[in-house]
């Protein structure tokens, strides 16, 4: 089952932020949404997560319109890692991960199945070592993994991540990207909004490049991340080459001189 967007338009008041978007995201792949600030990446992700209702067109899970799905059913199938890594109270890592089970909870307290899912999510993200530490005492990288575990605990078919690497150092960034790729390899659909082109080149199975509220290009990395596209969309002078292993290398030389 795929996640697809058909002729989607979204407007804040009278200004259109997204127009005529068509895109398909396949399960089992790590799809990355790229685009400059203000291109509409987060809005597109919010439509996919069912948090925003498109003004025209639709975001669909298979044949079902996401904004028309009953909320608990939607929340069980589509997990969102929101932007900003917000955590407001000093609760333990385990309690935070347990929040991911909310769409599944019936009555009071967690079932054995809930506890199993929480343990599995913490194991997958290697966060079980600090299950009982308050999240306020964790490093940024540890906290990012706990927040991702929270999404995994809900056992969604789809994982949407809005800038999951913000404020992380390079090592932690790679940890999170590895985890997202692992989830995609495991059969889940993963869609992430990223800013880092290098990461996109290395990790993406599929890229959607947004520009001024429309899809500028989409497809395989080599077809989308080209020197010409980057020059038009970001205004940067980039050089792409293949290294001896056949992997694409991206070198950003500077801003385009106009």
């Amino acid at each position: 089952m795929n996640l697809n967007v058909q002729n989607l338009g979204f407007a804040h008041g009278s200004t259109a932020t997204l127009e005529g978007i068509n895109a398909t995201f396949e399960a089992g792949r790590l799809s990355i949404i790229l685009g400059p600030n203000g291109a509409g990446k987060s809005t597109l992700l919010a439509c996919l997560a069912g948090l925003q209702k498109p003004n025209s067109g639709a975001a669909k899970l298979g044949d079902e319109s996401i904004s028309n799905m009953p909320t608990p059913a939607r929340a069980k199938r589509i997990g969102l890692l929101p932007q900003g890594a917000e955590t407001h109270w000093a609760i333990t890592s385990e309690a935070l991960v347990a929040l991911g089970r909310i769409p599944h909870l019936r009555g009071v307290g967690a079932s054995t199945n809930d506890r199993r899912a929480i343990a599995a999510a913490m194991h997958a993200t290697a966060t079980d070592g600090f299950a009982h530490r308050p999240i306020t005492q964790l490093s940024g990288g540890e906290r990012a993994r706990v927040l991702l575990a929270r999404v995994l605990a809900g056992e969604p078919e789809w994982i949407l991540a809005d800038e999951p690497l913000a404020n992380l150092d390079p090592g932690y960034q790679l940890d999170i990207l590895d985890l997202l790729r692992q989830q995609a390899r495991g059969g889940k659909g993963v869609v992430a909004v990223l800013h880092d082109l290098q990461h996109a080149v290395r990790f993406a199975d599929h890229v959607v490049l947004l520009h001024q509220g429309s899809v500028f290009a989409q497809g395989a990395v080599d077809d989308v991340i080209t020197a010409q596209n980057l020059a038009t969309v970001y205004g940067i002078d980039a050089h792409l080459s293949k290294d001896e292993d056949g992997a694409t290398q991206l070198l950003i030389k500077g801003k385009m001189r106009s």
Binding site: A75, L80, G84, R150
Partner: protein, 321 residues
């Protein structure tokens, strides 16, 4: 200490504070004379019992409302007064005293509840967008406006006696309430408290911010309704019978958090118990201070609560260092 043990302890303390409130005063009334057919029995039934019940309920709803609002706004400085419900209920009560409606049975209570109800409707209209910022700004403006109008009514009061009666009522007290007043307020407080107790899971989800909560199927609009109605009914009714009792809703959730951890759903019931303990104890203390008049409840509350709170802060600072 496990939280089950803590909750047991809180229940015991609540019971003890309730019994203390039944007994303590210029005249101590021991349990053997509660049913006696003499002055002691009369004092117990007509004065002590309604007063203790009121202390229990008012304290509980204030503690609970404070815990819910702090969780909802993700701000430890919030308390039941931020929504402007208490100020509006107080304005209603003040207008009742000013116009003499308070002499009619349930006149004061009715006017205060109308004040609370009006503020609830206004808040729901303001909060339609769903965000908590607009909602809280609306509450603060409402609170300021109602406060200003209250001050205006006091300043145009026809005689010094009316003015002092208004101020006395405003300062909050549990004295001289009839059993009928208490029984009228109880259902409102109970319904309000039940609504607030259902918000735990949504408040927990808000730990992840509004988008995180929404992606977990939390309906923030419904949550806002629950909070406005819950706080409106319970705090409105509490102000209607006992005036504005400050401090409880702000302090109690903090104290409870230091024992139970910060997860919003886990501190709701303990905050209600803590609120009841603080209010009942402060109100007993008020009666035990020697002197002719009675100390105001709000003052006793501050004297009891503030040092304890400061102690907690010191402990917390040490723990953080």
């Amino acid at each position: 200490m496990t939280s089950r043990f803590m909750t047991g302890l809180l229940l015991l303390l609540t019971l003890a504070a309730f019994l203390l409130s039944l007994m303590a005063g210029k005249v101590w009334i021991w349990p053997m004379s509660w049913a006696a057919d003499n002055a002691d029995g009369w004092i117990f039934l007509e004065l002590r019992l309604p007063r203790a019940l009121l202390g229990l309920c008012v304290g509980a709803v204030l503690g609970l409302s404070g815990a819910v609002l702090q969780g909802y706004l993700r701000n430890p400085l919030a308390d039941p007064t931020v929504l402007g419900v208490s100020a509006s209920a107080a304005l209603g009560g003040v207008l009742a005293i000013f116009s003499g409606i308070n002499l009619v049975p349930f006149g004061l209570f009715g006017c205060a509840m109308i004040g609370a109800g009006a503020s609830i409707l206004l808040l729901l209209a303001i909060g339609r967008g769903g965000g908590s910022i607009g909602f809280i700004l609306g509450g603060m403006v409402l609170s300021t406006l109602a406060g200003a109008l209250t001050a205006f009514v006091i300043s145009i009061a026809p005689n010094p006696f009316a003015a002092s009666e208004i101020i006395n009522w405003l300062m909050g007290a549990l004295t001289d309430r009839l059993m009928e007043d208490v029984l009228t307020a109880l259902p409102f407080m109970a319904i309000g408290a039940l609504l607030l107790l259902t918000t735990g899971r949504a408040l927990d989800a808000l730990t992840l911010g509004e988008n995180g909560a929404r992606s977990l199927s939390i309906d923030l609009f419904r949550l806002q309704w629950l909070i406005v109605l819950g706080v409106g009914l319970s705090v409105g009714a509490s102000v209607a019978v006992s005036g504005v009792v400050g401090f409880v809703g702000l302090i109690v959730p903090h104290v409870i958090r230091s024992f139970y951890g910060e997860q919003p759903s886990r501190i709701l019931v303990p905050s209600a118990l803590g609120g009841a303990i603080l209010t009942l104890t402060a109100d007993s203390l008020v009666r035990l201070i020697p002197g002719s008049g009675e100390l105001r409840l709000g003052i006793a509350m501050a004297v009891l609560g503030a040092p304890f709170f400061l102690l907690l802060l010191l402990r917390y600072r040490k723990g953080a260092a």
